[in-house]
């Protein structure tokens, strides 16, 4: 298989398989999670008014008092990494074109140099967060294989995409094929790992807020 055949495979059958597994996994898990249900709470609600569920969705995006000082890398790094990664994925011209081809929606792109800079910032932030996870004994103790693995599958698409556009290490065609392949691996892993928080995050926050309010701890 030569470079172009490899690239064509990743753009063709590879993408087909990855998107297929992604859709399968996402629908499976969403239906499974949201149909689980909970036992009916027979106790009278202590606090029914207000929108604790909705408030919790936003409130948990802010660090609790004192936590920013205790764990700045988690909060600042987490914010930078998530927002800048979203900029690359949703505002890079080739990515918008892919989305347009898959779902028919498109919007204006940012200049490629800016996306290149964003990739560097994202990677630097991810490396700092990884170092923090290794350095802090508690974080390291709590980390499992899944944490290291999901960090890697998230990091690789950014790294290979940036290296492809900067013409580093391998010819562009090979690096572009590796970039697409790494993104496909991410798609396959996402529904079956903690990366699924992209889909469940706000639902679970809302649920927790709602339950807490029911028990008398409204937000």
């Amino acid at each position: 298989m030569n470079d172009l055949q490899f690239l064509t495979w990743t753009r063709g059958p590879g993408l087909d398989i990855a998107v297929g597994i992604f859709l399968l996994g996402v629908l499976w898990r969403l239906i499974e999670i949201y149909t689980l249900g909970r036992k009916k709470d027979l106790a009278a609600p202590r606090h029914a008014a207000g929108a604790s569920g909705l408030h919790t969705v936003f409130r948990r995006s802010l660090p609790p008092p004192g936590m920013l000082k205790r764990s700045p890398v988690s909060y600042v790094g987490g914010y930078i990494f998530h927002i800048w990664l979203a900029i690359i994925v949703f505002l890079g011209a080739p990515h918008i074109l892919l989305i347009e081809n898959l779902v028919g929606l498109s919007w204006p792109a940012l200049p490629s140099q800016f996306i290149g800079l964003t990739a560097v910032v994202t990677m630097a932030t991810m490396v700092v967060m990884l170092a923090d996870r290794i350095n802090k004994p508690v974080k390291r103790f709590l980390s499992t294989f899944e944490d290291w693995f999901t960090w890697t599958v998230t990091f690789l698409p950014v790294l290979t995409g940036w290296m492809a556009t900067q013409h580093l290490l391998l010819p562009y065609t090979q690096m572009l094929a590796l970039h697409i392949l790494s993104a496909e691996i991410l798609l396959v892993v996402l529904p079956f790992s903690k990366l699924f928080h992209g889909f469940t995050l706000f639902g679970s926050r809302w649920y927790n807020g709602r339950v807490n309010a029911h028990k008398g701890v409204p937000v």
Partner: protein, 359 residues
């Protein structure tokens, strides 16, 4: 025509100054040091018509057309006249047995010294019967001619990589020159067709230095195939700014914006079109408003649609809808199983009383 090249050129009205300028340009295109232009001029001027055998196999003659009709009259064209082109079916006057005899004589008289140029792929299916010349299969002729050649130059994508004949499903079992010839230096000059100056550049390098130019991992001269079309494209700034033509006749297309979204394969194509251009530097595909097809890359014909962007899916998704249905089905099945488990647990639940605990 006998004698050194410079005499023949002079007879054709090419001055020494023009020839020197041509050699300097050629040397600079090939990224050779400034002194190489002069060395090239001296060596080429004195060159004594090396024997060249040109074998056309499974091809469309586009490569020959490209070189002979690039623009007229050209020094490239004239240099082609100056080499002793002992066998070239399209250009030679002889035909039939006479032509085959010329080939045999050239091979015998210049054994080990002649250059072998090949255009077209070589079909191996049915013992090579898909393409024969004078009753002999291409594969036979190639093996015989390559045995006595100093070097082999594969002209065009078909000879270099198999090209369109090798495209899926490859009905003739077509292969490239380098698939068959393993013991001779081979230069690949891919393109459909290749740029004429690349061809003369390689010949000039061979005549001057007695060796072939530096090649990349696909056997292509680095000086011409070292960069991608995208990297040297004059429309590149528009790509970087995110300005793309969406159709071939929209405002973006009229403004000369990047053709990436219209399927341009420039980012994955190594060739010199963007710098050398075509038709005597007049224009080239992207300048004329059409994206690059990637014709100088192996298997370009099977690289997905010419009109689909590189970041877009090469084919329509086949499994997505089925996968979504299976996923939803699996979700429903698992949730039903969970409910059954929960209900069974509820049904088999035994209430523990205080009396039980005191037992």
């Amino acid at each position: 025509m006998q004698g050194p090249l410079i005499d023949t050129l002079a007879r054709r009205g090419v001055t020494r100054r023009t020839f020197l300028k041509y050699c300097a340009t050629l040397a600079s295109m090939m990224a050779l040091p400034p002194t190489a232009g002069r060395a090239m001029a001296e060596a080429m001027a004195a060159a004594r018509r090396p024997s060249v055998i040109w074998l056309p196999f499974q091809e469309c003659t586009g490569c020959t057309e490209s070189i002979t009709r690039s623009h007229s009259p050209t020094i490239e064209g004239m240099i082609f006249d100056m080499i002793s082109l002992d066998y070239q079916e399209t250009l030679m006057a002889a035909a039939g047995h006479q032509a085959e005899e010329a080939r045999q004589n050239a091979m015998k008289d210049n054994a080990g010294k002649y250059l072998l140029i090949v255009d077209g792929s070589i079909p191996l299916g049915h013992d090579g019967a898909y393409s024969c010349i004078g009753g002999r299969s291409n594969v036979d002729m190639l093996k015989e001619a390559a045995a006595g050649a100093a070097a082999v130059i594969a002209v065009g994508s078909c000879a270099s990589f198999g090209g369109i004949p090798k495209a899926n499903p490859n009905p003739t079992g077509a292969v490239s020159v380098s698939d068959l010839v393993k013991d001779k230096p081979i230069v690949n000059i891919p393109g459909c067709p290749p740029i004429p100056v690349v061809m003369t550049g390689v010949l000039a390098h061979y005549l001057t230095f007695g060796s072939l130019p530096e090649l990349d991992d696909k056997g292509r001269p680095k000086s011409f195939y070292g960069n991608t079309i995208h990297d040297r494209c004059y429309r590149r700034p528009f790509y970087d700014q995110g300005k793309f033509a969406k159709t071939f006749d929209d405002e973006g297309a009229r403004q000369g914006w990047c053709l990436f979204e219209l399927g341009c394969k420039g980012p994955v194509t190594h060739n010199a079109c963007a710098t050398v251009k075509w038709n005597g530097g007049t224009s080239w595909p992207v300048e004329s408003g059409h994206g690059c097809l990637g014709c100088s890359e192996p298997d370009f014909w099977d690289g997905g649609s010419f009109y689909k962007a590189l970041s877009a899916p090469a084919d329509p998704l086949k499994f997505a809808a089925a996968a979504a249905v299976v996923g939803a089905g699996a979700g429903v099945a698992v949730s039903v199983a969970n409910r059954v488990k929960k209900n069974t647990a509820k049904a088999t639940h035994e209430t523990t009383t205080l009396a039980d605990l005191e037992k």
